[in-house]
Amino acid sequence: MSFLEVDDLHVTFSTEDGVVRAVDGLSFGLEQGRTLGIVGESGSGKSVTSLAVMGLHRSARVNINGRILLDGQELVGASPEAVRRLRGRRMAMIFQDPLTSLHPFYTVGRQIDEAYKVHHPKAGRHEARTRTVEMLRRVGIPQPDRRANDYPHQFSGGMRQRAMIAMALVNDPDLLIADEPTTALDVTVQAQILDLIRDLQQEFGSAVMIITHDLGVVAELADDVLVMYAGKSAETGPAESVFNRPQHPYTWGLLSSVPRMDRERQERLVPITGQPPSLIRVPEGCPFHPRCPYAKLNGTRSFDEVPKLRETGEPGHLVACHLEAEVRARVFREEVRPRL
């Protein structure tokens, strides 16, 4: 069993318009010392998954089913008190926007002190502050003892995200979830933060889950990749295998719709047609079939049967698609590969 084991997770929200199936039967595992990149577009369920792991879905309208095991401990249905004891100490999270996740009224140092003291009730003020300054130094904030007394608005965007990372790591968690950690940052600062996360990962050896819409960020950081579509796993496997030999038509679409800096400029981008589905009325069969150019290649299966994750022949690389292996290989070789 993996350090973090998510098994057949379902997260639904009841709304006036109907039931939103945000996560619909998701399973994955994550080992310590590994980084999993979860990639998908808005509404694919990636953030809902991370909040479920962190136990941060508070609404009375949310319904979580399935299993989430952290080091063998069941989190689905656990008491809020039990999850609170884990959160911050064994698992921690970095959010997209550091300005809204830091409290504007307290100094940065005080907020990190508090994160430490919550899980170290016997620690005194000095011990906590020493730890805070050490963490701020570790994430690359110059003059950390002085900057700890600054308020969040006195930090730049990149500095705030560094402070958030320091706060998340202050209790040395075993699982770090980063939800779009660099989306709000400029590209030169993003490069710094990605470097920092990679270094800290190696130093602390924790399990890291990166949630992003940016395939480039995933490629930079992740050992394993999970591509989500409509609350389900479309494709998952080692990053090398997924990027070099992607198997799902949705992954193909994602990779060929972004202009790339490392390639010659294409005359024309190849977008995925249509729109992401409504999660209240998810299409029957394969949720991607209305946008899939290959849905008709195997009769009506894509239209009435939900594809299950199955082996691709590559170790650890699974795909949820009805295409026969030979057909998939041919389409990839003849149509997809040339435009990637």
């Binding site: 400029d186 030169t188 490629a219 930079e220 972004v258 400029r265």
Partner: protein, 358 residues
Amino acid sequence: MRISLGNGKAKTPTERPPDAPLLEVSGLVKHFPIRHGLMQREISAVRAVDGIDFTVEPGQTLGIVGESGCGKSTTARLVMRLDEPTAGRITFEGHDITHLSRGAMRSHRRDLQMVFQDPYSSLNPRHTVGRIVGAPFRLQHIKTEQGIKRAVQDLLELCGLNPEHYNRYPHEFSGGQRQRIGVARALALRPKMIVADEPVSALDVSIQAQIVNLLDDLQDELGLTYVIIAHDLAVVRHVSDRVAVMYLGKIVEVGGRESLYRTPMHPYTVALMSAVPVPQAGGRDRNRRILLSGDVPSPIDPPPACRFHTRCWKAQEICRQVEPPLRELRSGHQVACHFPENEPAGTKGPVSLAKPNS
């Protein structure tokens, strides 16, 4: 032979050659004052745009790229005359529009339209799509009501939307469709130029390509001229003929797309390009990445002389003392740097300390 339109709107002086730049910007400056105290005294200023020059030829696309705070959005707003320039000159179709009044500007708005970043906040949620896209006609007193409906439906179709959705409200559309509505509105009066500020950055990646292709097709079909502002270097390369790189209110490098992306010369451009993560297994070769230290300095009190010297690995004394002028080192490719990268052989060295540029 030219026939004078004689409708009192005489917009194009007949002596303008057909290949003259559609838009010319010179010495453009915008400082936002910071006021303080009881008397609201001006204590300093945010130097958002600090003296930039560029031209845009008809039918071409100029991409402006840079990080937050570099002044690219302010530049767009100045060109659109949504902000009043502090100094400098904006010439559109040979007319100086720098200080035109709102009323006088109105006749030019037909030819100069804008597409905004956020398709959620740039459409009035209480107006139907028909009313939103039809608004330019009403504001300019063009056509009758029945004519407007037809025109709007044609525009919706042109932008890949269902013309029958004329009576729907913005919330009934997805982000990509809303951006199409924003483009349709900008196209209503058949403008010559469209300024688009981050037209795709709020959209999902699979939808971005749809909008990029739409802008491409419309340019071919209608002969539009674009100024596209974006922070995404890959998107800018895809859409632009020429690209200007901005840093702290200045253009540090400008050139043709191929020249600029193949042989970037300003160290900032080089670092910016090397920082973009690429979707290939293992990411980028880390040894070839240039990691800049620190953040972009504040535009309130930008570093003197070369503004990039605080983060530049090549900076020397001259960079702290003499501001480098934009110099053309390759054909059509200018850079403002004393020690450019990828410098073609046989160019002169840095401007000497004894002879500072004016």
